[in-house]
Symmetry: C2
DNA sequence: ACCTGAACACCGTTCAAGT
DNA sequence: ACCTGAACACCGTTCAAGT
């Protein structure tokens, strides 16, 4: 009665699986993205890795956008799974969740603009809920909760995505450190009357830690939330 | 002595220009992007609009990334030009600049991840400087200025880019309003013990104004900056 | 110095045909 | 129900040849 897909003997052992699941396809896509980058994820390469034809993938996935969205969601879900839900006080929990998302994006810089609030993305929902549920214990009154949640969640995903985008540009001979030095050099050479601030602040760029800057922003938002209580 | 490219008679009038500038190419690219979307900007379409061959574009532009980066920078530059530098007090100026970037991204939703701190992008530099130079008049001491600037600038570009990405998904039959209703419906149907916050907050989604939420986040960051003074 | 446009080496996606 | 792989309709990019 067509139960042939249930595990027979040890799962994934024995003969090559004759049927793929969407999860397996997404897993293989993530492996290619991590190892070779966004440009190397083609349906042909993915099919080759799965020992099948390109068309087979379309049975499980609507199109490439769907595939990338599923891959992104899987990565976010996995990042959330590393967080111990009850370990920390609410404020520290918000920082931990934020950094987990940031680190996940940093480790998988192919995550671009595949985010969206689109329905059905459970990883995103986990983050949304995890941040939002910490606001009441923090003493944020009901009327202020939505704005606080929105600012945090927008900041987390917006800045993490932008950082991932920056990370994507650091390739091969151009290290991140060298890139910051170059930008600092350009800024310090700007006209000091037209660009006084950038001229002055250029010195801060070398050695900058994006993760710390990300967290500093989270702390400023938290500070704004507290000061409004 | 090869001065043939200087304006002869009225510029852009008379016979078809025999030579294109990078600015003209970028302008034509923006026109296509705005009118027909990201997928319609091909080198063939762009060449057709400029009455030339595809290869000619490569004389002025390194590749498609370069073209998109230049288009993005042009849009940001133009948005900054609409801001009266001395009109408002520092705090209001920061809000005005933020909203100008947000609105520019919203009006040109093809702006995706073409941002980066890459050198030579003058539009970005204008925003960086305009935000940064408002911090001292606001009373932010030197030691706190970099973090405050970084949080604001990261938030502005990160959230504006993400909003543009969301706007890109609203096409044809699916209006933004309908999308929010759908998401609200999904969230309100989530398990109330596993997702209490989303369950509760779903009612806030319909009619949500992204621009107001964006500004609420700016205000929270400003609040955090002030409370640390 | 700049343009032309054919050619190259790919893509995502579809679909008749298989099992 | 799911796979196969050739075929279609494109792309970005290059480059010899032109002016």
């Amino acid at each position: 009665m067509s139960m042939g897909r249930m595990a027979r003997g040890s799962p994934k052992a024995g003969r090559r699986a004759e049927t793929r699941t969407k999860a397996q396809i997404v897993e293989a896509a993530i492996a290619i993205l991590d190892a070779e980058g966004e440009a190397s994820l083609t349906f042909r390469a993915l099919a080759a890795r799965l020992s099948t034809g390109a068309g087979a993938i379309y049975w499980h996935v609507a199109n490439k956008d769907d595939l990338l969205a599923a891959a992104t969601d899987q990565v976010v879900s996995h990042a959330m799974a590393t967080i111990d839900a009850n370990a920390a006080a609410a404020e520290d929990a918000i920082r931990a969740i934020s950094l987990a998302v940031f680190d996940a994006f940093d480790a998988h810089p192919w995550i671009g603009d595949q985010l969206s609030l689109a329905p059905g993305r459970s990883g995103m929902l986990q983050v949304f809920e995890a941040i939002g549920s910490r606001l009441e214990p923090l003493g944020v009154p009901q009327g202020a909760r939505f704005d606080a949640w929105s600012a945090l969640v927008n900041y987390i995903f917006g800045v993490a995505a932008q950082n991932a985008d920056n990370a994507r540009r650091v390739t091969g001979e151009m290290t991140r450190e060298a890139l910051l030095e170059t930008i600092a050099g350009n800024w310090s050479r700007l006209d000091a009357t037209e660009y006084p601030f950038l001229h002055e602040i250029a010195a801060c760029l070398p050695g900058l830690d994006d993760r710390e800057q990300f967290l500093a922003g989270i702390n400023l938002i938290l500070g704004g939330i507290f000061s409004a209580l």
